[in-house]
């Protein structure tokens, strides 16, 4: 290996997830934000919320890593939505 290949995170996806209230969107953002990404050089996620919409921006080195990462975040969002629906 002579040179370290610089990979850029060109594969992107943005999800907009509508919640019933602004509070719920902000809860979801706070719940998801703290967890570290295992390979930050390959995959990045940004969470933010605007009114009742949660915005999730994914950036990744290829579509395979992107797909795996997105699906795991969606799994977590499903748990959050179910918790909000059933326990509030």
């Amino acid at each position: 290996m002579t040179s370290k290949r610089e990979m850029s995170l060109d594969y992107t996806l943005e999800l907009q997830i509508p919640f019933e209230t602004e509070g719920q969107a902000s809860i979801a953002t706070k719940v998801l934000s703290p967890d570290p990404i295992l390979k930050p050089q390959d995959f990045q996620v940004d969470y933010s919320s605007e009114k009742n919409i949660m915005l999730v921006r994914f950036r990744s080195i290829d579509d395979r890593v992107l797909r795996v990462g997105v699906s795991s975040v969606i799994d977590s969002i499903k748990t959050i939505v179910e918790t909000i629906d059933e326990l509030s």
Binding site: I27, K30, D75, T79, I80, T83
Partner: protein, 386 residues
């Protein structure tokens, strides 16, 4: 002396309520514990005698077919599917209507364990914390086992043998920490038994170790043990070699490999050893090793109590062997719990978390709730002990 009453219960109640969420392996547990607020806890060393009341203790185990173990991804999916339902059921059982007023703290397992299942449970814990405005406490799984065992058995300062599917440790308390005196150098004892059960293709229900225990009881040749490696290394153990060796024997037995002189008679070719005998010998061998290092730890710290916790702790034969060792020591006592509290559960997380909460230890920022696969028992500062 320790003051367990530093934080008063919410809403002017005279008792504390904690919810515990456990999901570090294939069991998902939700438990609710109630501690009365008692003046005697204000200045004492009574963390083993909180008067805890279990309001609910629900568990759902992810089961795999015989011959298969549980994988992180599938286990995490199981926990996600069941977590909210279990919390709801536990609260209904405990009669909690408004968690914002009725729950003091939500406790969750922060580690050690499998990453994906731990993560799926902490997501629910964080959401509940924000929804209900209830603080969180992250609990070390091993500490959960220890504190639950102490509360149930009222053992004040025992040497703890923690034996489960993922951990094998001999622990004693000293200077605000649970110190590890001996542990496995490779695989855990429960892992060794589970994987042997997989080789034998016996069911995982109710638990592989239990099924091995039942087979071992029926061993026809208990008088002659099959020789297996005995690998105590100082205060530590090694079990992967034992597993490899007993696996090899089982495979020869299934293939009817007559060349194996341990299993078949040299001259007549008659079978000398059955599957049950292998189970029996494996158990005797492993448990003898555990008893040996536990006894040495007891001599080290001058203790005469042993507390067995963890899933393998349900094994009656292990309890028997440990009791025999204790009997030979002056005033030796053995403490063990049944499968409600031995096997991973939510109440143990609630119990340990509530102790931490009563000492003022709550999560101040969600960055403290990041789960971790490696989290050693001695990393925890046991503020609630003297």
């Amino acid at each position: 002396m320790v003051n367990l009453n530093t934080i008063p219960p919410k809403n002017n109640r005279d008792f504390y309520i904690a919810i515990g969420l456990e999901g570090s392996a294939n069991k998902l547990g939700v438990g609710i514990v109630k501690h009365p607020l008692l003046p005697k806890h204000a200045n004492s060393d009574l963390s083993y005698d909180c008067g805890a009341e279990m309001l609910s203790n629900i568990r759902d185990t992810y089961m795999t077919p015989p011959g298969e173990g549980f994988l992180p991804r599938d286990t995490a999916r199981h926990h996600r599917n069941w977590c909210v339902r279990l919390i709801k059921q536990a609260m209904a059982e405990a009669g909690i209507k408004d968690p914002t007023l009725d729950v003091d703290v939500i406790c969750f397992t922060r580690g050690p364990g499998m990453g994906a299942p731990l993560h799926s449970v902490v997501i629910a814990a964080r959401t509940c914390s924000l929804l209900w405005d209830v603080p969180l406490v992250g609990v070390n799984h091993c500490i959960g086992h220890i504190e639950m065992g102490r509360e149930i058995t009222k053992a004040q300062n025992p040497v703890v043998l923690y034996v489960s599917g993922g951990n094998t440790q001999v622990i004693a308390y000293s200077e605000k920490r649970y110190r590890i005196f001996g542990e496995t150098l490779d695989i855990a004892i429960g892992n060794c038994l589970d994987r042997f059960a997989r080789t034998l293709k016996i069911p995982n229900e109710p638990s592989p170790g239990y099924n091995i225990e039942q087979l071992a009881k029926k061993a026809p040749h208990k008088d002659s043990l099959v020789e297996l490696p005995y690998t105590v290394k100082g205060m530590d153990l090694s079990m992967s070699g034992i597993l490899a060796s007993v696996d090899l024997l089982a495979k020869d037995l299934f293939k009817c490999n007559k060349k194996n002189k341990i299993l078949f008679d040299k001259k007549t070719g008659e079978q000398k050893v059955t599957v049950e005998d292998l189970c029996y010998s494996l158990q005797e061998n492993l448990f003898a090793m555990l008893v040996e290092i536990t006894e040495r730890a007891m001599a080290h710290v001058n203790s005469n109590q042993v507390l067995i916790v963890g899933g393998v702790g349900c094994n009656v034969r292990l309890q028997e062997m440990m009791a025999q060792m204790c009997k030979d020591r002056a005033n030796g006592q053995i403490h063990a719990t049944d499968n409600r509290f031995c096997i991973d559960n939510g109440v143990m997380i609630a119990q340990a978390g509530l102790l931490e909460y009563r000492m003022g230890g709550i999560v101040k920022d969600f960055s403290e709730t990041i789960v971790t696969q490696k989290f050693r028992t001695d990393e925890v500062y046991a503020a609630w002990r003297d």
